[in-house]
């Protein structure tokens, strides 16, 4: 494990903010278990819990908390200076942090999505949701990590993207779905385990290419912004 990965992971799990990751996945597992236990038709609760809660809320919100935390928290408290005053090419700082963010997000959301998929349909759907969510975790993490370098309010901007762009506009303006990571994840999961529970207008090739573009593009942006990282002017 690289030293940057080690410090990032220690920092992430050492902060209370990490506890914020737990309620949403637990809620999803709980709802899935209740629906299954009461024999509700998966056609009724599946889309709401798997997509409405799992892919539209749990995945992006967990990615937002972790993605803005791996570098943003260090920028906020100033500890980033310790890592930046080292003769490391900046990609060697960004990539390990992106790896931690995507890994932790994927691990956190894979379990509830797998459980939900299995209870609603099959093990295959569970695995498909977990795998697609892992890919989505990478794209979201790259986006939110870059946001923490281009703005001082990454969480706010991230929430606007998730709630307004993907959540609200995605329902009314179909064109916005082409720029929605959530839709890519649905398309990929549906391709891996075709089911009536998942539906999207975005094709698999578009989803694949766009996910790769977002992951690579925002990583390159983050590396470039970190290269020009300025410490905010202080009073003295």
């Amino acid at each position: 494990m690289s030293t940057v990965t080690w410090i990032t992971a220690r920092g992430l799990f050492g902060r209370r903010r990490f506890l914020l990751l737990l309620p949403l996945p637990l809620l999803m597992v709980l709802l899935s278990v209740i629906c299954r236990a009461f024999g509700v038709d998966p056609g009724e609760w599946g889309p709401a819990v798997l997509v409405g809660l799992g892919l539209a809320v749990v995945l992006p919100v967990v990615a937002l908390i972790v993605g803005t935390g791996v570098l943003g928290a260090e920028i906020d408290d100033g500890t980033v200076v310790h890592i930046l005053t080292k003769p490391l090419p900046r990609w060697q700082i960004v990539l390990p942090k992106l790896g931690v963010a995507a890994g932790v997000t994927a691990a956190t959301v894979a379990v509830p999505l797998y459980v939900g998929g299995v209870l609603a349909d099959s093990v295959r759907l569970g695995l498909a949701l977990a795998a697609a969510a892992a890919v989505g975790a990478l794209a979201y993490s790259a986006l939110f990590l870059a946001l923490s370098l281009v703005t001082r309010r990454p969480v706010l901007l991230g929430l606007v993207y998730v709630l307004i762009w993907e959540g609200l506009l995605g329902n009314f303006v179909s064109g916005t779905k082409v720029l929605s990571i959530q839709q890519y994840v649905i398309a990929l999961a549906d391709r891996l385990a075709p089911t009536e529970l998942l539906s999207t207008t975005v094709s698999v090739p578009v989803a694949t290419v766009m996910t790769a573009l977002i992951a690579v593009g925002f990583t390159v942006l983050a590396v470039d912004r970190l290269r020009s990282f300025s410490v905010a002017g202080e009073t003295s």
Binding site: H82, T85, P87, L88, S230
Partner: protein, 319 residues
């Protein structure tokens, strides 16, 4: 602790020294000019960057350390720009003013992590040496979150020194240190400077700079106000005219008497009392009670008017 463990130049006494050059460096934020056309060249030894709060010291240090792009001019370390050039950190260490440390790590973990990030061949040994330099061995296995401010500062200094840099920049390093830690830090900087390192530390406290460095750069309002040997600058500061506000039972009579005193260069009679300009602080404050007593005047108030560092530094700009 052994003598070798605190030696700032262990196996690697380098023949060459590094030079940090600033050529016509300015930095502005919108309409506000934080640093205005500063040029200086820093070589081996300890240099103090002195100036009141808000003078632009931190902005200047950040530009030196590659954390801020100059709006104009160039900052180079041995000819290499410090901005957007992580390679300079092979030879440069920074201890910033902001008390930011990974509080969840122990000092040992923190310094070893720094050594690893520098890709040093033996991180453990480098960390042991750096921790010994700042005398933090006893507490190195405790989490930094449990440290006092001075101890955190020392942990940060150890991390900045772990790769044995030729240039060390410290922003207000004595803040929050107790007198013993302060003396130790001063001694450490002395030794590092004596061993051929280029050390620059900022401070707004005259006495700190006086005790540590022979060379000073004085900044006032973003400009380099004075530069050079500390004793020369200190003399300029001591010999500047002092202004006192004086109130007495008979201001007019006291004004007449004071004009005959050689240490007084001017007296102004106002409604609120006298404003007295004195060339020699000590001579005037000794003479005033005698003069008043001889004339039966009671001095009700004697207040030095411009003893703030800002006014001292402003005087230097004009001098």
């Amino acid at each position: 602790m052994t003598a070798t463990s605190t030696d700032p130049t262990p196996a690697a006494v380098r023949a060459t020294t590094s030079t940090l050059d600033l050529a016509g460096v300015s930095r502005w934020y919108g309409n506000v000019v934080a640093v205005n056309d500063v040029s200086m060249s820093l070589g081996a030894g300890v240099t103090g960057l002195l100036g009141p709060n808000g003078a632009g010291k931190t902005t200047l240090l950040h530009m030196m350390a590659g954390f801020l792009a100059p709006s104009r001019g160039a900052v180079t370390l041995d000819g290499q720009p410090t901005w957007r050039n992580p390679d300079v950190y092979r030879h440069l260490g920074l201890v910033s003013e902001r008390e930011a440390v990974h509080t969840f790590l122990t000092a040992h973990e923190f310094v070893v992590a720094s050594a690893k990030l520098h890709r040093l061949p033996d991180p453990e040994e480098a960390a042991r040496r750096a921790i010994a330099l700042v005398e933090l061995e006893g507490a190195q296995e405790r989490r930094i979150g449990t440290y006092s401010k001075g101890m955190r500062q020392r942990a940060r200094v150890a991390a900045a020194l772990v790769h044995d840099p030729q240039v060390l920049l410290l922003d207000e390093p004595f803040n929050g240190m107790d007198p013993r830690q302060r003396l130790h830090m001063m001694d450490l900087l002395h030794r590092l400077g004596g061993a051929g390192r280029t050390i620059l530390f900022s401070s707004h406290i005259l006495e700190e700079v006086e005790q540590v460095s022979g060379t000073v750069q004085v900044m006032v309002a973003g400009r380099l106000a004075a530069s050079g040997d500390f004793r020369t600058i200190r003399r300029l500061m001591t010999n500047r005219p002092h202004v006192f506000a004086v109130r007495s039972t008979d201001d007019r009579a006291l004004a007449v008497a004071l004009m005959a005193e050689s240490s007084v260069s001017g007296v102004e009679l106002g409604r609120a009392g006298l404003t007295v300009r004195a060339g020699d602080y000590g001579a005037f404050t000794r003479a005033l009670p005698k003069i008043a007593l001889a004339r039966g005047i009671r001095v009700q108030q004697l207040v030095p008017e411009d003893e703030s560092l800002e006014s001292v530094f402003s005087y230097l700009v004009e001098a």
